[in-house]
Symmetry: C2
Subunit: 299 residues, 2 copies
Amino acid sequence: MSIFDERGGEYIKKINDAAKSYLEKSAFCGRESSGLEVMLEAMRYSLENGGKRIRPVLTLEFCRICGGDVEKAIPYALAVEMIHTYSLIHDDLPCMDNDDMRRGKPSSHKVFGEANALLAGDGLLSLAFEVLLSADDEPAKLVRAGAELAKAAGCSGMIAGQVMDLKNEGRKATLDEIKATDKCKTGELIRIAALLGCICAGATQNQIEAAEKYCAGIGLAFQIVDDILDVTGDEAVLGKPIGSDGEKGKSTYVSLLGLEKSSEYALELTENAKRNLDIFGDEAEFLKELADKLSTRRN
Amino acid sequence: MSIFDERGGEYIKKINDAAKSYLEKSAFCGRESSGLEVMLEAMRYSLENGGKRIRPVLTLEFCRICGGDVEKAIPYALAVEMIHTYSLIHDDLPCMDNDDMRRGKPSSHKVFGEANALLAGDGLLSLAFEVLLSADDEPAKLVRAGAELAKAAGCSGMIAGQVMDLKNEGRKATLDEIKATDKCKTGELIRIAALLGCICAGATQNQIEAAEKYCAGIGLAFQIVDDILDVTGDEAVLGKPIGSDGEKGKSTYVSLLGLEKSSEYALELTENAKRNLDIFGDEAEFLKELADKLSTRRN
């Protein structure tokens, strides 16, 4: 078993255990028998619907390589994953992307109805801040992490990306427009995931800059690979139908650059991203492997 | 001019000015010309659509009577108002209450479309935490305030109330069920508004308990008056159609207790609420007048 599989597996177990326990502890405390179970179930359905957990893994590993205590970083990691999960629930709603499937299962509103899906998303967004700000850590770190998280998730970050994405629908966006959209829509949460690990560890400014550059590279590569898989992927492995970008008439890296150039670009971004980690020496092995795995993934 | 009108006017001006400046500063920093104006406009439309500002006024006044600096409490107050505003935008959406009008103007999704309204709500929720956690105050206070705010806004608080409200639709709820719903759905944000003022001021436990009891009383009275106005109100003054509760077949205080008993109950709650303020002596005048105004309001 490689260091990546071993440590990655440990991280994912920590995150999943924490998600389970926080949901039980924080949501509907003392109200389990009053008909609110549907909301707890809806939040759990999406939060536990095993994604790749890339963001919280980044939080924990950046905390570790910056010299911090991984256990302390768990609420930071979970907060980011909760925001990621809320954004997927809202993105799938009929008034947004209107997607019926998510990770091979019916999306939240198909199972719980639109109103409950909307509220489950709202609930996870609030719960993210509850989990982070209730953590047992120095207040100054928590305040900084919370402010940065709110900014990255909000209208200067992820939501700006969602607005740009809506604007790009049904028209031919340029490469620069797609990159700007992805930088906000998915890039900001990947960046903040690493940054929160750094903040928890009390990282230096140099370490933070390295983390942010690494994330910018793997984040963009991730989106390019997404577009490639939408053309070349295996539906059974992906857990969602392929060809959806083409059907929607969306501009993608593949439609603008072609398959070959897109693949080359993703690999180049990945190599550059990895080079930013040199300041961490041998300790960077896990994150370099993560970058490689993401650029060669099949789902 | 009474102390209530004078100080209340000052508070509302402070809040409106802060709302304007935070929206400009925090949202879309440096991206004003990239087509994201619609989101800024949508957030501003709802945030500046002059509500009564009861919640942020409570924050500022409780800060003052607990011996704090009102200027310091402005970001706390604005954070609560942003969460209130987001909840109204999402509540009005077609999948929720499907309300076309809000405070005499078309609701957000009627003006900006459903997707933008959804995102404007999400954006305000994140911005609330950004504003609060970026405030110039002691980190320990900000962390406590943020954790309490997240809890009150989330699944143990306001969202629990929204879920109960959905559950009550199309069936006859009991008085206890309605009270439990209102305690969460509207009561939690009123409570947290006062609590945040107390936290900002470094209030004593006694002061906090008095604030919470006062808020529980005026919060419930507020809802009862809402139900009364839905039967006896003047549409032009209210800014929304009357009779909507009856049309939806909702159980209300009026349908369960009758008009007269409902009015008596609202007055009794208001008197009891005011008595909790005795520990503040003469300084409580403003909040006592606020309680009276809310129970005798016509819109």
